[in-house]
Symmetry: C2
Subunit: 367 residues, 2 copies
């Protein structure tokens, strides 16, 4: 598998230029349910500060924001580094894993969130893939089969994009154990942690270990993918190196965004998160009911925003997905962008109130 540049932006561009008059966008991971009021309020407050507060924040992030995160995640504040979104948090975690001279292989799942293999190559590592089960479940024994002294990093995403799987506590515990066994670092990307439909989501933070870095973001939580504010929780032996890498790459993370996120964390009612989760749960039901009617195979997500669907004689290639845009007016992601194992599938993001209409269009198209 070769990855250069994930296809998300390319698909979104294609959809925006299509001749179809009214494409339903199910490509991006852009939440459509709106940010909490605290985000806009925070930005308004910040806009009036000017002067010193428009200048560099500490490279590792605003102290108040780090403290808020540390308290919520029950970790020492020194371990929290604010980053340019979850993307940069993953870049730092994987970069740290690879720079230690403890192997150059990065183990990841197939299908996979396509940024991981791309980052691996960019950081000079080698990609190693572990197939997952039909339901997206990851068997730690399969990871162990691929792991070796050459393993620098294991990178996973739970709740998972694209499969919707929420890894069990046992699975995560085993992954940490494998990372310890091979002197690797488990990078656990948990950006969808607020979108767990099982009630059983487990963070890798629950395992006290120097061999796991947890990454997260406010992009999905607060529907602000454009702000670029995320964080990494980094165990003590790695935190200085990760902080240096963040500083040398980006100097610091944008301060207006950090301030707005802090304000939203302090003012957002828990009902906000619950309402969005409920909305998504309903969309999953609506969309999969319509897919049933269309005789499509699909995954029912335990978390995150995505449904993978498989239509008869319609492999998930870029060409086919472009046809769906132009002819059905529904934009999804080609499954083969997530790995060879997803060749037959198309991924749909449930980030539009029009999921039923989209599913009906698909049913008509494949009828």
């Amino acid at each position: 598998m070769e990855y250069q540049e994930p296809l998300f932006f390319q698909l979104m561009q294609y959809a925006s230029r299509s001749d179809h008059p009214d494409v339903i966008d199910m490509v991006s991971g852009n939440p459509d349910w709106g940010s909490p009021d605290g985000i806009g309020e925070g930005l308004h407050e910040y806009a009036d500060f000017g002067g010193e507060r428009f200048q560099y924040p500490p490279s590792e992030g605003l102290r108040d924001l780090r403290e808020e995160v540390a308290e919520r995640r029950n970790v020492p504040v020194e371990q929290v580094i604010i980053t340019n979104g979850g993307g940069m948090a993953n870049t730092l975690g994987m970069g740290r894993a690879l720079e230690r001279g403890s192997g150059d292989e990065v183990v990841m799942t197939d299908p996979v969130y396509p940024y991981y293999p791309g980052k691996t190559t960019m950081l000079g590592g080698e990609q190693r893939f572990v197939p997952v089960g039909a339901d997206g479940s990851l068997d730690p024994d399969d990871v162990r089969d691929v792991a070796s002294e050459d393993t620098a990093c294991i990178v996973v995403n739970t709740p998972n994009n694209p499969t919707g799987k929420v890894y069990s506590e046992e699975t995560l515990g085993e992954l940490v154990a494998i990372a310890e066994e091979y002197d690797a670092i488990l990078v656990s990307d948990e950006v969808y942690d607020h979108f767990d439909f099982t009630g059983e989501f487990t963070s890798a933070l629950e395992f006290d270990s120097e061999h796991r870095i947890v990454t997260n973001s406010f992009s999905k939580t607060f529907a602000i993918t454009g702000f670029r504010v995320g964080y990494a929780v980094v165990p003590d032996p790695h935190v200085d190196a990760v902080r240096a890498r963040n500083m040398l790459t980006n100097v610091a993370t944008t301060r207006p965004g950090q301030y707005a996120v802090l304000h939203a964390l302090q003012t957002t009612d828990p009902a906000y998160y619950e309402a969005n989760r409920e909305e998504l749960r309903e969309r999953v039901d609506t969309f999969t009911d319509a897919l049933d009617a269309a005789d499509a195979e699909y995954t029912r997500p335990e978390g995150a925003f995505y449904v993978m669907a498989k239509f008869p004689d319609f492999p998930g290639t870029l060409e086919n997905v472009y046809d769906l845009v132009d002819e059905a007016g529904v934009a999804g992601m080609p499954g083969n962008g997530f790995g060879d194992s997803a060749d037959e599938w198309v991924r749909f993001a449930l980030v539009t109130p029009r999921v039923e209409e989209a599913a009906d269009r698909l049913a008509d198209y494949f009828a």
Copy 2:
């Protein structure tokens, strides 16, 4: 010379914790003259958008902002990539230079902006230093002496931090020619281009070549170092690779900041830039007059914000600079953080209206 993490943030932290009741901060490159109104206005406007406009911008930046930059710099819009500040623009330029298999050495000046050697190491390159003249001038023949088939990159900063030198058109032209000769890439970091006191600043953009990447930022121009919005101008053969690297590292650059910068570009009167330049010119005079009175040696900057000063029997070590904070109440940067050649010097950033008071304090301290 070894660099891990530039000392800027460490010094600022030390100054903020000092027992001295009223330290004058001359450490950071944080402009104190205030942002144009367009920045705050733009942020207020953006804060009310919500919804889709809070989501991912194109990875390479908002189209309108890229067009505005392209028009001002007279380059094709396709060559403009918006980045998380000038820092990330340099990371991309140097990363691109090093990934081509055309050498692993990065040539830079001594003294040097300390991020360059740190980035070089992080990106797997080897540092090569070229000493500059006492006035900060860079002799292209000295660069040629160090350049070889192993040279992947030449990175320079004009107007220069810390020396204040503005490189001549001839020098820049020669640097581009050397980059072409050795299949290297000149990364020309021009973040202080609005602070040229000579009227003779030359951008590397004036030389049409596939061997130069120009980086810039709005951090200094608009006094928004905390926003993290900069850009790279990348010749066609490298632009896809640089765009991919930006996407894989950071996904995208913060959108509220991009919007505010665009609004400021559209609304800021040229008098804003001129007034700040004039203010700095006066501060240079004031500060250097007081240094004359203190019998210190110093550099008189042709551009940027910095004066290097050398006091008798007082090498520019971290310990000495800490003493200046605690005892004189003036915080500067240790010269040896910029390279062996600056061992004897302390760098002062003229980003405070209290430059005269600071210079008087220094004169008293060394009296």
